[in-house]
């Protein structure tokens, strides 16, 4: 199970505009196996965000192939792509993106909204996910009543509630103080230990150092991969 490739990138490039073209990614290749905890680290402007969008299938590469959970993203229609996101990818954003107008439980249950599960099942699974992130007793709160760290835990619960093949975390500690941030990283480690595949994007080398595998991005290329065996083909 742990040897399955959940993410494969092969010579992926992304170019924006034409006059002059901006090369955000210049041939990125790597694979992530199920159960890994990977950090993608690089300074701002290095192509991290573009890479995140392509990994999350929110954007398509200009060239190269992206396979998520064995499916070639290029071949999929917008509708199939949305279904893939609903099923296989969980997102954690720096800004949490929680709705203040519903409860914590509903926010987490929204992670399953587009996956086809019924409301009762969504709420049950959301309650379980909240227990996993340590907020089982906050289900009926509004997100506004929670601290920043708790809000990010809610967002993480929403990302993992569907047990996706990949969890993409974009600067998950960016809006948190260092102590709370450390707790969030710890939670990501716990979830990873529980079987979740997690890719964290950060500009913070210190955070990246805590993950088993690090990919260093600079000027649209991967310049270092701490897992030597994945270096083949770069």
């Amino acid at each position: 199970m742990s040897e399955r490739n959940v993410l494969e990138l092969d010579r992926v490039t992304k170019t924006y505009g034409s006059q002059p073209p901006v090369h955000a990614l210049r041939g990125v290749s790597f694979t992530v196996r199920s159960g890994e905890l990977v950090s993608i680290v690089g300074p701002s402007g290095s192509g991290k965000s573009t890479l995140l969008h392509i990994l999350g299938t929110l954007d398509r590469p200009s060239e190269g192939t992206v396979r998520i959970d064995g499916e070639d993203v290029a071949a999929l229609t917008d509708r199939r792509l949305a279904a893939l996101r609903a099923r296989s990818i969980g997102f954690v954003f720096q800004q949490f993106f929680l709705s203040e107008h519903t409860t914590v439980l509903e926010n987490v249950a929204d992670g399953l909204l587009y996956g086809g599960a019924g409301r009762t099942e969504r709420r049950e699974r959301a309650a379980e996910a909240l227990v996993r992130v340590g907020l089982g007793d906050r289900a009926d709160f509004r997100p506004g009543k929670l601290s920043g760290g708790q809000r990010q835990r809610v967002a993480i619960a929403r990302a993992v509630v569907g047990r996706p093949a990949i969890v993409l975390a974009d600067e998950p500690t960016g809006n948190l103080d260092s102590r709370t941030g450390a707790a969030i990283i710890e939670l990501l480690h716990e979830l990873n230990a529980g079987g979740a595949t997690i890719i964290m994007i950060t500009h913070d080398g210190g955070l990246a150092a805590q993950t088993p595998r690090r990919l260093q991005v600079l000027d649209g290329r991967i310049v270092a991969d701490s897992a030597a065996r994945s270096m083949e083909g770069v």
Binding site: D59, F97, G111
Partner: protein, 400 residues
């Protein structure tokens, strides 16, 4: 994604911004309320009028003196009422004769030119009963008073003469002699001629005003100028068909036959037509409301870019985003429509109640109002929903 989920998501979007939602729904509500109230009020007033017509009966026919081909008036024969009463299907016959040149004044001191447009009519004793009116004050003529200088005033005639109650010894100056006022009639809705008349008995008309014609070599009171006929309801048409010949067999074309309730029914229809102006105003309000909803939805799409991005990341398709915003717009308009229908219905109910009409809110008013609101919401929400769906997820997630 299930319909219930779509509706719930749209509902959360509306509940999140209550004041804004209420204000943008208000425009739709005002338009719908105007339309429902206008249609409801006109239907209720028509129902009131028709109820009145029903109560008065649609089986009253009149045959009156018409114009002959040469342009002169063609009097009815003295025997016309009696002949008509022999027709099958005729239940009651009354008649009245307008007396030319007879005017009525409060006193001899009034200048003769101030006639108040009132006239003097000789009336058969069953006239009020047949035309469906009653005595407001005093009493109607009887076999004794119809021979004496006694008059009963129509409702308008009494009003114009300034007589609002009847007391013994009260007189009016009628063609240069005093007539005693015995009573005042209620308004006769089916034959308004009677309202502006001072009514006296035929024998009195003959005796005091020389209103007489020759029949079979004898002078008799008359002739009648209008014959009022109550026919059996199912035979109204057949009676109407032969009424002219029966009244005046020698020249049937000189007889004016009419069914007074027709005029009232036409009036009911005409009142409905008058409302198109107000309906137009309601439609304008609806259009303004639609613009308001469209405006709010466009702002909403701009404001909620990150929500759109998040939903796309969670796996929403373009279609689902489109449906979400479209259903929000429809729901907003629907809320406005329902509130408007309720307000319009309430207005109608209160107004109809004060007028004593039955409350009638036509199905096309409330169903049409709600239907129009839904259509308007869909139209107003279409462009914003398309914009929301077109928004690229990466664009939507870009932090501002």
């Amino acid at each position: 994604m299930r319909l219930s989920d779509q509706l719930r998501v749209a509902g959360v979007g509306i509940r999140a911004r209550r004041l804004r939602a209420a204000l943008s729904a208000l425009g739709i509500a005002i338009g719908t309320a105007a339309i429902v109230a206008v249609l409801g009020l006109s239907a209720s007033s028509q129902a009131g009028l028709l109820a009145q017509i029903d109560q008065l009966g649609t089986n009253l026919l009149t045959a009156g003196t018409g114009k002959s081909v040469t342009g002169g008036t063609a009097p009815l024969p003295i025997a016309a009422p009696q002949r008509i009463s022999h027709l099958p299907g005729v239940e009651q016959v009354a008649h009245a004769g307008a007396i030319d040149g007879a005017n009525v004044y409060r006193s001899p001191l009034i200048p003769p030119i101030n006639t108040n447009s009132l006239k003097v009519e000789a009336a058969s004793l069953n006239l009020p009963e047949v035309v469906g009116t009653g005595v407001a004050q005093g009493r109607w003529l009887n076999a004794a008073t119809e021979r004496r200088p006694v008059t009963v005033l129509g409702a308008l005639a009494a009003q114009r003469l300034g007589i609002d109650r009847v007391y013994p010894g009260q007189r009016i100056w009628l063609k240069n002699q005093w007539f005693y006022v015995a009573g005042i009639l209620e308004p006769a809705t089916l034959s308004t001629d009677i309202d502006t008349s001072a009514l006296i008995g035929y024998p009195a008309a003959e005796h005091y005003l020389s209103y007489a014609a020759v029949d079979k070599g004898e002078a008799v009171a008359g002739p009648p100028t209008t014959v009022y006929v109550r026919a059996r309801t199912d035979e109204v048409n057949s009676v109407q068909g032969v009424l002219a010949q029966t009244a005046n067999p020698e020249s049937p074309s000189d007889v004016d036959v009419s069914q007074p309730s027709d005029a009232l029914t036409a009036r009911a229809a005409a009142e409905g037509a008058f409302n198109s102006l107000f309906l137009g105003l309601g439609v304008v309000a609806l259009i303004v409301g639609a613009v308001g909803v469209a405006n709010i939805m466009i702002i909403s799409v701009l404001e909620r870019r990150s929500e759109i991005g998040l939903r796309r990341a969670l796996g929403a398709t373009r279609g689902q985003i489109r449906t979400q915003f479209l259903s929000e717009a429809v729901m907003l308009a629907l809320l406005g429509g329902v509130a408007g229908v309720a307000a319009g219905a309430l207005t109608t109910a209160v107004y109809a109640d004060t007028k004593g009409w039955a409350v009638v809110i036509p199905a096309q008013a409330w169903a049409g109002g709600i239907g129009a609101a839904i259509v308007i919401g869909a139209i107003a929400g279409l462009l914003p929903a398309l914009r929301a769906a077109r928004l690229a997820p990466t664009e939507a997630l870009r932090t501002l």
